[in-house]
């Protein structure tokens, strides 16, 4: 058993770090301040094939393995979680097609997404259905060769700029009235109204949208899998993409820790760098312990996913939960180490703290993750 990344991944990490230092670091604070989507950085991520990472090679991707993507997302999130969400959003929006799409659907959608020419988003949450996916009320009713979509979707990351949407809705049998969760891939068009939802606490520069479907006609060939496969597809998507949330959280924790260490070495109080005081040393040590533990759990989850291990779902849930809790704790402690300077925008730790909170909430709250983990221990019926 080897707990070290192999040379290829270390090399990838270095390459992403170079890209982040050149393109992302100079813009990170500005993206947070202006809350504007960084199109220039999205182009750089596309050019350097970061956006191609979630996709198999046959569709223009770099392979689609999760561990390399985790390495890249972690490295970006050390500097800007908002930018780290760009490849993550592309992964989240496209995974249903990768998992459940027919060859024709994959050929039709994936190359444009892998090149970054088109953007995508996943839409599950509704005003009255968040953690309770079964409560989805958006409907799709078959009408000839089309389905007709109606309803409202909320909190859709990148929903306003995405060209392609994958969404979970309820297909309704006109004769029996039976409703089943189903998954569609939809290109924006007539019958869809998009409204921006802004004023978030963190992850500024990552637009969040509300989608209103009003008799939108979608060709029947855009159904992913069969009617009724929606819940299964959504869970399979999250089994993969929640590892990316763990990676974002890990990057946030590491980025905040690095700044805290640097500050503790430089900041002099009572005639000594504050890093010489045990009160600060204890904090830094705990931050390091938690961050490293989050790293190994996240990498283990990615490795298990790539190897299709039977317990990959549980590891994904554990990595997402643990890493996001750690991100919250470590960014908070980083502010404490920096004191007053940590509370102002001159240092990025307050931004990291705001960005960390959402990691405990989106793509399945940590409470839902804990239920998933507990049920894997207790078995069916709990």
């Amino acid at each position: 058993m080897n707990f070290e990344l192999d040379k290829e991944l270390l090399f990838l990490k270095e390459m992403v770090r170079d890209l982040v230092q050149e393109k992302v670091a100079p813009r990170a604070a500005e993206i947070d301040e202006t809350d504007e989507y960084p199109w220039d950085i999205k182009e750089a991520l596309a050019e350097h094939e970061i956006l191609a990472m979630p996709f198999p090679e046959e569709y223009g991707g770099t392979g689609g393995k999760v561990l390399p993507l985790v390495i890249a997302v972690e490295e970006i999130a050390k500097v800007s979680c908002s930018v780290a969400m760009i490849p993550e959003g592309q992964c989240l929006g496209s995974t249903a097609i990768v998992i459940a799409g027919t060859e024709e659907q994959k050929q039709r959608f994936l190359p444009g997404l892998a090149s970054g020419e088109k953007l995508c988003a996943l839409s599950v949450t509704e005003p009255n259905a968040g953690s309770d996916v079964g409560g989805i009320q958006c409907t799709a009713v078959r009408d000839g060769n089309d389905y007709v979509l109606n309803g409202t979707k909320r909190f859709v990351s990148f929903g306003n700029i995405a060209d392609v949407l994958t969404l979970i809705v309820k297909t309704v049998d006109k004769n029996t009235g039976d409703k089943k969760l189903s998954c569609f891939v939809v290109e924006k068009g007539e019958g869809l109204v998009v409204r921006n939802l802004e004023h978030k606490m963190g992850i500024k520069g990552t637009p969040t949208a509300e989608l209103f479907f009003d008799n939108m006609r979608v060709p029947a060939e855009n159904l992913l899998g069969a009617e009724g496969d929606g819940f299964k597809i959504a869970m399979q998507v999250f089994d993969k993409t929640r590892i990316g949330i763990a990676a974002q959280a890990l990057g946030l924790a590491q980025g905040a820790l690095d700044i805290a260490v640097q500050y503790a070495r430089d900041r002099v109080q009572f005639g000594s760098p504050i890093g010489k005081f045990q009160a600060i040393q204890m904090k830094l040590a705990d931050m390091e312990i938690k961050t490293q533990a989050a790293r190994y759990l996240t990498y283990a989850a990615a490795d298990k996913y790539d190897r299709k291990a039977h317990d990959r779902g549980k590891f994904t849930a554990m990595a997402k939960t643990f890493a996001s809790d750690v991100a919250m704790e470590v960014t908070s402690e980083a502010i404490q180490v920096l004191g007053g300077y940590g509370y102002i925008k001159d240092y990025p730790v307050e931004r990291m703290f705001r960005d960390a909170k959402i990691q405990q909430i989106y793509e399945g709250t940590n409470e839902i993750q804990r239920i998933v983990i507990a049920r894997s221990l207790l078995g069916r019926g709990f």
């Binding site: 290829e8 090399f11 990838l12 270095e14 170079d18 050019e47 350097h48 990472m53 390399p68 070495r265």
Partner: protein, 261 residues
């Protein structure tokens, strides 16, 4: 055209001064746990080579380093930005060579590779010797141009742009030629792409034993007799004066006394 670019692996110059230390009793910096990177002027040299290759059909870029196995990392970084071929001249981990000896080894490699153009960084970012490039041109008996910022194909051969204090100089030259490159906004090394980065780890690195090419008399010409980290002392002194003008006068007087000016 066979373009050979010489690369050196050095301690990361971005290392905070507090982390820089010397090996106990050694005439060298400690390297354990310290990141090693491609020397920055060599990065500029590589970019100049890659840009020239893009303008010359059939041209190839071969990157060469002299060093232990760990130095292959800089070659792989070059392969990741699509250098065609990579060569390492093996060296024992602790072996220290003078600039002249390195130039001798590189000259041997240039002959074996039948290189037409050799491009070097103007000086390594560790010792800042600045000797290898021009000694190499001497060893090969080829013309050499230093402070080059870019090379373009021209009607009669190559057009080299040189950076001077007061501006630029454009010169023409024919291969064989050694170009010694300095940094410029036009030759910042490009960043690799994901697939090329992953593929670089699987590419072959050739070993060339150029020991016979090392110029023996070069050894011993330079002897390192001491190495120490300068002790920085910071003192604060208030400059007296009634107004800005008087303070400025007093500041200049004080700087002259301290021989800063």
């Amino acid at each position: 055209m066979q373009i050979m670019v010489c690369l050196k692996q050095i301690l990361d110059p971005e290392l905070p001064p507090r982390d820089f230390r010397l090996e106990k009793g050694e005439m060298a910096p400690a390297t354990e746990g310290i990141p090693l990177v491609m020397s920055s002027f060599d990065q500029n040299a590589l970019e100049v080579g890659l840009q020239l290759r893009e303008k010359l059909a059939g041209a190839t870029v071969t990157v060469v380093t002299v060093g232990p196995e760990g130095a292959e990392d800089v070659l792989r970084k070059a392969l990741a930005v699509k250098a065609d071929r990579a060569v390492r001249v093996p060296l024992e981990q602790d072996c220290k060579l003078s600039g002249g000896m390195v130039a001798g080894l590189l000259a041997g490699v240039a002959r074996q590779l039948e290189a037409d153009l050799v491009i070097c960084g103007r000086q390594a970012g560790d010792w800042d010797g600045g000797q290898v490039g021009l000694i190499l041109s001497e060893e090969l008996g080829w013309p050499g141009a230093n402070l080059v910022t870019g090379i373009e194909p021209g009607a009669g051969g190559l057009v080299l742009k040189r950076e001077l204090e007061e501006g630029y100089e454009v010169i023409e030259g024919n291969v064989p030629l050694v170009a010694v490159v300095t940094n410029h906004e036009t030759n910042v090394l490009r960043i690799a792409k994901v697939k090329d980065t992953m593929a670089a780890m699987r590419k072959k690195i050739e070993l060339i034993d150029a020991a016979g090419s090392a110029v023996e008399p070069q050894a011993g010409r330079i002897e390192l007799v001491g190495l120490e980290i300068p002790v920085k002392e910071v003192n604060c002194e208030m400059i007296p004066g009634e107004d800005g003008s008087e303070k400025a006068d007093n500041l200049i007087k004080r700087l002259l006394e301290l021989k800063v000016l």
